[in-house]
Subunit: 409 residues, 2 copies
């Protein structure tokens, strides 16, 4: 049984966290550096941006999670992406790890680094180093500490995003906690999103990486805010084994339970990212069912969730299904538009607007009421097989434009 | 020598045009039906949407331009796309051709049909048929008639789009005239754009289709407003031979001259579509040079021109080149970001903002002034070969959202 509990990344045993104001972004008073520390070395896994342009911390951290089995600390900053910063930027990412490691008497290879913010500027390393010292002293094991960390990685996010769950493996209680940020530059294959997940489960490196990798495909990678994939996307998962469960080393029943709990955490966080899309007023959940194969369903669902015209229509509560079928049609997947059904759903009810590629006799008034809810679902049935996929997005609003027209100023 | 002359589709000899108000969109007083007629049968060529969902008139017209060498009339309406309308819709498209043919004593196979507007509603055929009769009586050979036709196909366009050019083949003066519409749902592989091009050149079916096809790849298909490809995109090219030039039947010198003139017409129209992107305040021209191959340059240029974040930054006159290099990085083309140069140009000057993947010491003030112009160019040099491509787009504004949040109401 899976229980959602209070707290975030400090909910699992043996993790402390913190968030401080280091002053990285001039004029801002918000927290801008976060840290998560495991009391003991934790098995580490990471998934990173597929953008050809990779930020310096992504290069450092992916090197670490590929080369070694464990890590003990995550240090992150907002206010600067440390991307397109050349050798100096890469040395700065390593320096962040080194400085952090010194605070805990660790080697720098135990420190994962993540950054988010504007591309192309060198980090203010004096402020960063002071921030790291401050962080190391401010760590706590409680909910408030987790929340401080979650707040510190926010950029244009309007709400902190964290969750924790509890379940049992054998006789042991196991917890997973997670936090993330992301609201602009979010797209399939990950946007500027940082996700940090902790667990006290005992699990092998191989199984942890496998669990994270397949999970991200169906959760964070199915979120689209604006079609842009960032240079800094990162998800870390640290498992410190302190729950004392029998170590998971195989795709056994315990692995399945662990994966289900992980899915609960990551799909919760993915939806929070989608609904906090820059300027968004509602969450859009697009499910394509009865596709010939999973990849078809994925491509079609993402095409609809990512269409600017669909997103603008959702903002206007306009049941403009023509734009939905149009976005299906240009996705590059073979299906028969004349077999396609489309249904809109929300807390206000459900209405089928398309049957076999043509309009039903639906009421525009009813459809508009359904679309006016804060969470809107579209079910698209293409009657071509039995594969299914869900993508999450948001509406496109005037505020999105306002936010992005002068992000740097 | 190529001369740009006044007028549009009636500039070539033997073409008449007209535009009338048929009342297709309730409550609107604007012209909503257009017609272009050649005095004699004209060699016909067409290029159509690649969306899997094809509107009824696209199915009818592509059938015609594939099956027969000539056509004589184009009839078009705005106010309804006649897409996702089933058999009834297809019969209505044929009925538009039949009714038009009757007015001129032609067979319906000589009439190309195009529609634009909202998807999923049946056309009001009584109004359409009255409109066709009215059109047949209103045709004129002058500039005003061409303009009336160009106005009648506008939907959210804020300006009519037409052009004519004159050049010589042998001793003969040849003209090409063009008109188009399109401002939303515009994207690579054509948006909801209709383009009608006339010429009095004498040219074979095969060469005309070849000329149009390769031309569209570099012009209309390089325009991106919002990433959505419509169900109705159509470009027609009619060549009636009345210039009396030696018939073009081969890729000879005359063909080259003809193609250059056609390129002038279509690239002019493509840029007008981009700068009239829904809500746009400026034209964005993105050139990628020194790519390993043409397709690389095309994909990279389109990725930048289509990025919501780049477009929003342009709206804010913000030299946020990080978003440009990010859009290059996720385009799926292999290149070295650390060799990339980026320069912004406009009537206000030029500034190189990136050299070898990192910021130059440019002045933000100067960059902002350059970006504030109505036409902004980005030159991106990836130093990986010698192929080049240009894409056109526009900025993303609050007005885009306003237009698309309630397009149907």
């Amino acid at each position: 049984m899976l229980l959602q509990i209070n707290g975030g990344v400090t909910a699992p045993r043996g993790f402390r966290a913190g968030g401080v104001h280091a002053g990285i972004k001039p004029g801002s008073e918000k927290r801008d550096m976060a840290m998560i520390v495991s009391d003991v070395p934790a098995v580490s896994a990471g998934v990173y941006t597929r953008n050809l342009v990779k930020a310096a911390p992504v290069r450092w951290s992916s090197f670490l999670t590929n080369q070694s089995d464990t890590a003990q600390v995550i240090v992150a900053n907002s206010g600067g992406a440390n991307a397109c910063t050349g050798d100096e930027g890469y040395q700065n990412a390593i320096r962040m790890a080194e400085k952090t490691a010194q605070c805990f008497g660790l080697s720098q290879e135990m420190v994962l680094v993540a950054s988010t913010g504007v591309i192309g500027k060198q980090l203010p390393m004096d402020l960063i180093e002071d921030g790291i010292e401050l962080l190391a002293k401010s760590l706590g094991p409680d909910e408030a500490a987790a929340t401080a960390a979650a707040e510190a990685i926010m950029t244009t996010d309007t709400a902190k995003k964290e969750i924790a769950v509890e379940f049992t493996l054998g006789e042991k209680t196991v917890r997973i906690g997670g936090m993330c940020k992301g609201s602009g530059m979010i797209h399939p294959n990950m946007g500027t999103m940082l996700g940090f997940i902790t667990t006290d489960a005992s699990i092998s490196k191989e199984m942890l990486q496998r669990a994270l990798h397949s999970d991200v495909e169906d959760t964070f990678n199915m979120v689209s805010v604006d079609g842009d994939t960032s240079t800094n996307d990162t998800v870390f998962l640290l498992a410190n084994g302190m729950a004392g469960n029998k170590r998971i080393v195989d795709e056994d029943a315990d692995y399945t339970v662990f994966c289900a709990a992980l899915r609960h955490v990551t799909s919760f966080l993915a939806k929070r990212i989608a609904e906090d899309g820059e300027g968004a007023t509602k969450l859009l959940e697009v499910t394509v069912q009865n596709a010939a194969q999973k990849t078809d369903a994925v491509v079609l669902a993402k095409s609809v969730a990512g269409s600017s015209l669909v997103k603008a229509a959702m903002y206007g509560n306009d049941a403009n299904w023509g734009r939905v079928i149009c976005a299906l049609g240009y996705a590059g997947v073979d299906f028969d538009p004349e077999l396609t059904d489309i249904t809109f759903k929300s807390s206000e009810g459900a209405v089928q607007v398309v049957r076999n590629g043509m309009a039903t006799e639906y009421s525009e008034e009813v459809a508009t009421r359904i679309l006016s809810a804060a969470q809107v679902m579209m079910n698209i049935d293409i009657k071509n097989g039995n594969a299914c996929a869900t993508a999450w997005g948001c509406d496109l609003t005037r505020e999105y434009v306002d936010i992005n027209a002068d992000y740097r100023s």
